[in-house]
């Protein structure tokens, strides 16, 4: 009588699990496929047709807003053209290979070419997707890095100091100028070497916000602290806040012509009304009414001035008032945005070890970014702000772009419904 040999349960489950499964990575989606979502392609096509209209419009008369839009979209249109070309060559090659009338030599050549064409197509698809992602409105600005210790007591404060040095040396390596706006240790002095209480670094280069945006969040550390006497591993956290640095002069305050300026008002969006009594006007009446009313149509802001007897002086004053009111509203909106951003980055409840974005593990000498799922093992280089840190940051930036693309696809599909 044959009896099945006894096998322990844990071994059974291990057998039933496919060995490949463990290798699959779920955390990130590094898509290197040559396909592109039809929704995104449709979007690119509409933008390309829009571009044609804009070009025609600009040929007739200059419009600052249209010109700016054109400049932003030109990258997308170029990427679309490259993709179209690559796609065409791949289809041609494929049809050549599948065509039974093709002679063997040609087919071999086509097969050789197909590989490189496929990679070109994949690259084109990737660049098209990336170009479709809207650039963050503040990406071009310099930024402020604010680093504070989180949960974990003095060990967290020590780690926060490590982070400050990490970013500082990273900037030094990449020739980015930094200034300490604030450096305060636990004693309330600015002496280095002691555990950190708070540090604010200003990164002065352009595009700094785009570069450091991905660093915002809780950084977790797992190590045996210097303060530990019994050799236990502690888990602590430090928070990093990244804010765009909006310097007043960088926005060109009083520049009315620059569409970037707060004071810019598109003349076409303003309705000018001079109060006129009903009736014939002209020689028929000699009214003294000189009031001017301006209405900014998109925001429905109304300014009415009747101080002076001169209509043109009233008009000038009304414009001045309208510009400053709109600028004030825009500044407030932007400040609200920043406040919302600050809250979303590090909320009161989000300071703990659980909401980490990255882990620095001394025991295993590894750094893992939990968003992109990247793990590197050269911890020392990361902490010294070297190439490895750059690699991690790069992976997070790509992850952000992918997230944006996903959101965009979802949006497009939602819009279709």
């Amino acid at each position: 009588m044959k009896v099945a040999p006894w096998i322990c349960r844990s071994c059974l489950t291990r057998i039933s699990r496919s060995p490949l499964r463990r290798l699959a990575r779920f955390q990130s989606t590094t898509s290197t496929s040559e396909s592109i979502s039809p929704a995104l392609l449709a979007r690119a096509r509409t933008i390309a047709s829009e571009q044609k209209e804009l070009t025609e419009k600009l040929a007739n008369g200059f419009d600052a807003r249209a010109a700016k839009k054109l400049g932003q979209q030109s990258a997308i249109v170029n990427a679309l053209q490259t993709w179209d070309k690559a796609n065409e060559s791949v289809t041609e090659l494929v049809s050549l290979i599948h065509d039974p009338t093709t002679d063997a030599e040609l087919r071999d050549l086509a097969a050789d070419d197909l590989g490189s064409s496929r990679t070109a197509l994949a690259e084109a698809a990737k660049s098209l997707t990336t170009s479709l992602v809207p650039i963050h409105p503040f990406a071009h600005l310099p930024c402020l890095l604010e680093i504070r210790p989180g949960a974990g007591g003095s060990e967290a404060a020590i780690f926060a100091g490590d982070l400050v040095r990490m970013y500082e040396s990273f900037c030094n390596r990449n020739n980015i100028r930094t200034t300490f706006l604030k450096y305060e240790n636990v004693n309330g002095t600015s002496e280095a070497g002691l555990p950190l209480s708070e540090a604010v670094i200003e990164v002065e280069s352009e595009n700094a916000y785009g570069l450091f945006r991905c660093e915002a969040g809780v950084h977790r550390v797992q190590r045996v602290p210097v303060t530990e006497t019994k050799g236990r591993t502690h888990t602590s956290a430090a928070s990093v806040l990244v804010l765009p640095s909006l310097q007043e002069n960088s926005l060109g305050e009083a520049d009315f012509e620059d569409p970037e300026s707060d004071y810019y008002v598109d003349l076409k969006e303003v309705r000018v009304e001079v109060m006129r009594a009903g009736g014939a006007g002209g020689q028929h009446v000699n009214k003294t009414e000189s009031a001017v009313r301006l209405t900014h149509l998109p925001t429905n802001t109304v300014v009415s001035i009747q101080d002076s007897r001169s209509q043109s002086k009233n008009k000038d004053k009304a414009w001045q008032l309208l510009r400053s009111r709109l600028a004030q509203a825009r500044r407030e909106k932007r400040e609200d945005e920043i406040v919302a951003m600050r809250r979303s980055v590090v909320g009161v409840a989000k300071m703990g070890r659980g909401d980490k974005i990255r882990t620095y593990n001394w025991g295993q000498q590894r750094v893992t970014d939990h968003r992109s799922g990247t793990t590197v093992h050269d911890l020392d280089d990361v902490i010294q702000g070297g190439q490895t840190l750059e690699k991690v940051m790069e992976s997070v930036r790509n992850w952000l772009i992918e997230k944006d693309v996903e959101a965009m696809i979802a949006e497009e599909e939602f819009a279709k419904k």
């Binding site: 000018v272 020689q283 028929h284 009446v285 000699n286 009747q306 002076s308």
Partner: protein
């Protein structure tokens, strides 16, 4: 005119005891308050504030205003665009709508690339001289490379004196106004040049020869009398009828014709003048859209112009109101630009189209012109 409710007058009196007489003229407390403020500021410049003379002066001015005298005559000035133009009884007060049209024309010409280095501008029926002064001010301020030579023509000596005095006053404060390039001249523009008997009042052609002025002019602007006798009694306000010169408002009765024809009496002669002096751009002010369409048809009949446009009160604004049905038919013939009442007619030909940034005239018409030349 509807009776003012007593409650309104009491409300005005509660604000200021000088306000009720002004409300009678303005029909609106806010407007009256503005006028009182300006009158008070004027009295401040003439006498010491809070003195007896000041009070008396202010009271006298309010009294004058309550009889319907235009505020501009009391204060002695009116703003025309950026310029403060002197006003005197006997000369028509400059109107805001005219300033809007003239400013818009100057703005269009500012962008022109092929303007001649000296631009000749003639203004017929110039009155206070406000149109040539504002035009030179607007264009010369933006285009320093261009000399704007202006000539204002009027039949009234009172008006010419005032225009010259306005030039003297403004040349001190406005750097863009050049006294050497601003002349005023007396002529009767309605007089036909052919049957010109030597008289005190020369025709325009004779006056140009007499004063050794050029015969060719690039731009012709005019705000002629354009109100018909019946419209004078129906649509003008009491203040206009009682205090402003009828000469500047209604064409003379001896010209004959029906009521409408008398209102339009100046335009055939003005169009003929435009052709005689070879004007490239012509701007005439009109009473309303109906008259604008009539003048545009007249201009089309002359066959001299490549383009005809009708401008409203605010030519730089988009049209927000619906065009009345009976006029929308004519709209297909002439483009109507801006918002408000129909206010002026713009004509251009030849090189004038490119000055205004309009599309160049058709090849056919250009050839025809060359043949006719």
């Amino acid at each position: 005119m509807p009776r003012l409710p007593y409650s309104l007058l009491w409300k005005a009196r509660a604000v200021d005891h000088l306000l009720p007489p002004l409300v009678k003229q303005c029909r609106d407390v806010h407007a009256a308050q503005n006028e009182l403020r300006w009158l008070r500021a004027h009295a401040d410049t003439l006498s010491r504030p809070n003195s007896k003379a000041h009070d008396g002066l202010l009271r006298k001015m309010v009294e004058q205003r309550s009889t319907g005298m235009p505020l501009q005559y009391i204060l002695g000035t009116e703003f025309f665009g950026d310029l403060e133009i002197k006003c005197r009884p006997g000369v028509l007060i400059p109107r805001q709508e005219t300033a809007a049209s003239v400013t818009y024309l100057a703005q269009l010409l500012q962008r022109a690339k092929n303007l001649p280095s000296q631009l000749h501008v003639m203004d017929l029926c110039t009155g206070t001289g406000c149109i040539p002064l504002l035009f030179q001010h607007e264009l010369h301020a933006a285009r320093r490379d261009i000399q704007v030579y202006c000539l204002g023509v009027d039949i009234s000596t009172k008006a010419l004196d005032l225009a010259k005095s306005n030039l003297r006053k403004l040349q001190k404060t406005e750097p863009a106004i050049v006294p050497n390039l601003m002349k005023f001249m007396r002529a009767d523009i309605l007089k036909e040049p052919d049957n010109d008997v030597p008289s005190v009042l020369p025709s325009l052609k004779a006056a140009l020869e007499l004063n050794r002025k050029p015969k060719q002019w690039d731009i012709l602007i005019s705000n002629p009398p354009y109100i018909s006798p019946s419209a004078y009694w129906k649509t003008t306000t009491r203040s206009v009828r009682g205090f402003e010169p009828k000469l500047a408002l209604v064409p003379k009765a001896e010209l004959g014709g029906t009521d409408t024809e008398q209102g339009d009496a100046f335009y055939p002669r003005l169009l003929a003048t435009a052709v005689e002096i070879d004007a490239k751009v012509v701007l005439f002010e009109v009473a309303d859209l109906d008259q604008a369409v009539r003048v545009a048809h007249l201009a089309r009949k002359t066959n001299a112009f490549d383009g005809i446009e009708i401008w409203r009160d605010q030519p730089d604004q988009d049209d927000l109101e619906q065009v009345p049905e009976n006029i929308s038919k004519d709209r297909s013939c002439f483009p109507i630009i801006g918002a408000g009442n129909g206010r002026s007619v713009l004509l251009y030909r030849g090189v004038g189209a490119s000055w205004l940034g309009m599309p160049a005239p058709m090849q056919g018409t250009l050839e025809q012109q060359q043949v006719s030349l």
